[in-house]
């Protein structure tokens, strides 16, 4: 059972404090903050204890979400609860940041009051909570032109009319105001996280994909929704369906509300989505990608005359030509004693700089079309350069996002709401792949 729940800003300001059982003092908040800021690297910081009080915290949106307990509770339950609290706060307030929590503190207190009683979790389902939550969310964002320029986050290339405005996904789910209340929208996102290790000889050493299908629903009443996946979708190594390119995952699990009676034959998920964000399905694929990894790197590292290190990188994007990678950044660790950097990049929108703190070159490429190849030449000044210093260059790590692309090939064939909703309703399907960890050894 939970004794207290509190939310702190990264600077230690008390944003929310709720005491459920009266077992511990309010001092606990400052004790926690002192402990968490005094941590050195090797202590496990998720669970900390002070006397007989245990603190469990998660970090989301730059804030500390903390629960304290005096019993030996299940860590999974409490971590999951704090994550859920953060997700609900995001659902109700629109976005998750210090400002939105500050402005909506009355609403969050209301949520906490209904979610937990006397330290016992009562309910966290949006469907039930919405009957009890009375406070209206205050959104902080005034209209700005910047929002419109940001539109391309999930669909950069499409015509403006087909793209869901990004602001739509960051508004509160319960809005009584007229200009937003009329919008009945539902978003289905297929989000994949890819983690890859490529060896120095170019061989793919590890490739894992973790994916999920998320639904964000703004419909006030729920009707049954049917989501059709690729018919060739197969689970596990043995099962193969269809004759074309199979879409295969190793394991998948579903939200308990998903009905699977048509899944085996037609690959259809049936669900009555409740308001807010839910993860309907999670799946993993390890060690076998159906397509080539999105990026290949051809590096050359050599010692120039004097104390200069030459790093020549050729980076190829192996996506299909109509896809584009966004916000690509390449981090190349360099020897500890590196002083300065001069670079030759192939186009002016790219940037590269030497981060002395991390001892690495950061090369960022805002847009990288599929099939293209970019190159960069870095000259690093390293006093006392020896051949052993070359060992310190690498491994290169990359981060990027691939809109409209899934690595497993999972697609949503259709999205039907039945019975057809009156006055409805915009349905959006979005795909995105994020890099969880993309490492290329040199």
């Amino acid at each position: 059972m939970i004794s207290q729940v509190f939310i702190l800003s990264s600077k230690g300001d008390h944003l929310i404090y709720k005491d459920y059982r009266g077992e511990a003092d309010k001092d606990a908040v400052s004790i926690f903050y002192e402990m968490v800021t005094a941590l050195s690297g090797d202590q496990p910081p998720v669970v900390m204890s002070h006397k007989d009080l245990n603190f469990i915290h998660v970090r989301q949106g730059g804030l500390y979400w903390v629960a304290s307990t005096k019993t030996d509770a299940s860590p999974f339950t409490i971590i999951e609860f704090l994550n859920r609290l953060a997700a609900l706060t995001k659902d109700y307030c629109g976005s998750l940041c210090e400002k939105s929590v500050r402005m909506n503190f009355a609403l969050i207190y209301e949520l906490l009051d209904e979610m937990v009683d006397y330290g016992y979790i009562q309910t966290t389902s949006t469907d039930i909570l919405k009957n009890f939550i009375q406070t209206e969310a205050v959104t902080s964002k005034p209209f700005s032109l910047f929002d419109l320029s940001n539109v391309g986050l999930f669909g950069a290339e499409t015509q403006q009319s087909k793209v869901a405005p990004s602001a739509a996904a960051t508004r509160p789910i319960m809005s009584h105001r007229s200009e937003q209340g009329g919008k009945n929208e539902i978003f289905v996102d297929v989000v994949e996280r890819i983690s890859v290790v490529i060896g120095s000889n170019g061989v793919l050493m590890k490739a894992d994909v973790e994916g999920e299908i998320r639904v964000k629903c703004y419909l006030p009443t729920c009707s049954e929704m049917r989501i059709g996946l690729n018919e060739e979708f197969s689970i596990g190594k043995s099962q193969l369906r269809g004759y074309g390119m199979a879409v295969r995952v190793d394991e998948c699990s579903f939200h308990q509300a998903v009905k699977l009676d048509e899944f085996d034959t037609y690959r259809i998920l049936k669900v009555c989505p409740s308001q807010g964000e839910q993860t309907l399905m999670q799946y993993q694929l390890s060690d076998e990608l159906p397509c080539a990894p999105p990026f290949r790197l051809f590096p050359t590292v050599e010692k120039d005359y004097g104390n200069r290190l030459l790093i020549f990188l050729k980076l190829r994007c192996d996506l299909p030509p109509k896809s584009t990678a966004l916000n690509v950044s390449v981090t190349v660790p360099v020897p500890k004693s590196s002083l300065s950097l001069s670079q030759e990049l192939s186009s002016p929108d790219q940037t590269a700089d030497l981060q002395l703190k991390n001892k690495a070159i950061l090369w960022s490429i805002p847009r990288f079309p599929g099939g293209a190849q970019l190159s960069a030449l870095f000259k690093v000044e390293v006093p006392g350069l020896s051949s052993a210093s070359l060992l310190e260059v690498g491994p290169v790590s990359m981060s990027f996002e691939l809109p409209k692309h899934t690595c497993t090939g999972l697609q949503i064939r259709f999205l039907r709401l039945s019975p057809t909703h009156p006055g409805l309703s915009q349905r959006w399907v979005r795909y995105v792949t994020h890099s969880d960890s993309y490492t290329i050894r040199i």
Binding site: G41, D42, S49, F76, Q134, D287, P333, A388
Partner: protein, 744 residues
Amino acid sequence: MPYFGSEETVKDLKRALSNPNVQADRLRYRNYITRVIRSMTQGLDVSSLFMEMVKASATVDIVQKKLVYLYMVTYAGHKPDLALLAINTLRKDCADPNPMVRGLALRNMCNLRMPGITEYIQQPILSGLRDKASYVRRVAVLGCAKMHSLQPNTEIDPSVVNELYALLRDPDPVVMVNCLRALEEILRDEGGVVINKPIAHHLLNRLKDLDSWAQSEVLRLLLRYRPRSDDELFDILSLLDGFLSSAHAPVMAATLRLFLHLAAAHPAVQADALSRARGPLLAVCGSASRELRFAGLSHVQQVLRSQPAQYCSHYKRFFCSYSEPGYIRLRKMEILVELVNDENVVLILEELKSYCTDVSTDLAQAAIAAIGRIGRTYTEKCLDILTGLLALKQEHITSAVVQTFRDLVWFCPQSTGPVCKAVEGCDETPQDDEGKQALLWLLGAHGELISSAPYLLEGFIDGLKVEISSAVKMELLTSTLKLFLSRPAETQDMLGRLLHYCIEDEADMNVRDRAGLYYRLLQSGPDRTRQILLGPNSDPSMTVLTGRPEELVSVWASSFNTLGSLCGTGAGPENLPAEDSAHQVHAAEEAELGFGPAEQNLNTEPEEPLSDAAAAELDLTAGPPISHEAFERLWLDLQVVHQQVLEVRRPPEPPETLQAAFLLVKIQTLAFSRADAALWKAYVYSRAGGTLLLAELLQGAPEEPESEGMLLVSIKQQPENQSAVRNFISVLKRVLQTLSSNTS
């Protein structure tokens, strides 16, 4: 935290709240109340507004009511007399036609923690228990627990307890779970809520209707239930089966814990449950939430204590990602070390090697230490990597490598030669205390193998005046003295200088005493000094190969899914099991040796002589290492199945070469006697075709004078398989012959 002008703020608020104009305007009124709560959260003392807030509670605006209740619950303890004024409003609300208002009022009334409140809340709670709205019943049930905690020393009201037990059959699942929670608290002194057979089965049957939070809580309470018979046990387990692969991590973990607990007497069932939960647990380890990932990793570590082999093929899941925080990466490295086997060792080492140049020194050093731990089994590969790291000439890396070398030499004496060579080739000396001590220990213990040892020590002695750490000075004294015993001519002069400085000029009492002790020791002659100072230079227990015994599931099952498993740094290989559980561990180990699942499968397969498949099965395989004690026990229990004089002499190689050669052909070495012993013995073992082979090599056995100098091999086997023995002997002979011919 006090703010400047806080009194002004409170005064302003007070004035505004009592202003009738504000009170008339609903929005403005609520706005001011919001400001009070905001100040309260920030730590401002606004208790002086209590009177005004009580007045504000009499409103129809539910949002305002909630805010005022929050305020009252916080300050009721400070102002009990004023809080009583609010009771009337609250009691009136408890009879409101709107169930939400009723529930809200009842919940907050029970939350007022002040003396004397119980007489006011008893009646509303009792009527709340029979309310037709489940929302109010939920609140009322927990209200019973709150009421009990307000007067802990009074007698428990049996009618309330009975009513709560009856409410376990409530149609609303949350009411049912709240009843369990309330009973658990009220009856804590009597051991908590009683879980008898009807209740347990009732809970199990309703498990599907509950939400995931309630499920994990009920599963935790069911730990207390003991099934009467095996039939009942298996009925329960099959009912719980689906929850084992739940997508909700809390439910999965709670179910697994219950499985392990209920099936404590059925190790096969436990193993099966662990392997079925592997997928979900691995999924948690890759979850998007870092904290959940960390919890998953910590629990994988626990499972590994019993079943290291289960996760070996999934080692790539534990490769670190550069964006992960340090605490996750450290856990992952600890796990990677446990997962090493013959197939994946190269890839794991390559991965760990890439962490060694990490920006964070902590992570780099941890990676080096991890390589060192793998080096206890795969010495050669790791020594290459570690020696290569010295070339980087970075202080923190050199220091960590030298410390790893020290540990490696201690655990695997066969690595002494290459280590000494590497230390000699390294011209960078570590600058931190730990690294210095490690280097000094190596110089002292193996100074005769490092030709530059006296010069290195001299460097330390010259810098003695600026050395701060007394631990380093003590280590310096010991190693100089040890080096003096092995290389007196080169060291005598500097030892004299060192002792003189430490006895005359040193301020630290411990160092001075130690120097005095050594001085007097030297006076009693070098032989006496040698006898006292020179202990073993390697791990004195006879095991050459250190393997970690597999623990019983029950050793850790009780801490599974508790906070404790996340706090500790996990059991490293150094944490050996306590003495009293040692015999259990050995029992488990023996079971594993003889009747492990893999071996069993092979045994049941029909023998197919002369077929390729059967021949392949007879190839030697390494398998998990066996501890010294387990080997000894087996050796004593079994009969010799085969004895033969090999037509070869003992190769003159040092034992470490012999061991490396054996390892190449998958024969593992347990122990050697010293090279100069009159009766030379070696114990080795291997696995083939589903059997375990134990062998003793003996040279100079007195009863066989005609085979003077030849090796006598005795083999014991479990279970018997003659063709495996023949194969083993031919491999053994081939190795020994190759070694002898190389040297002759």
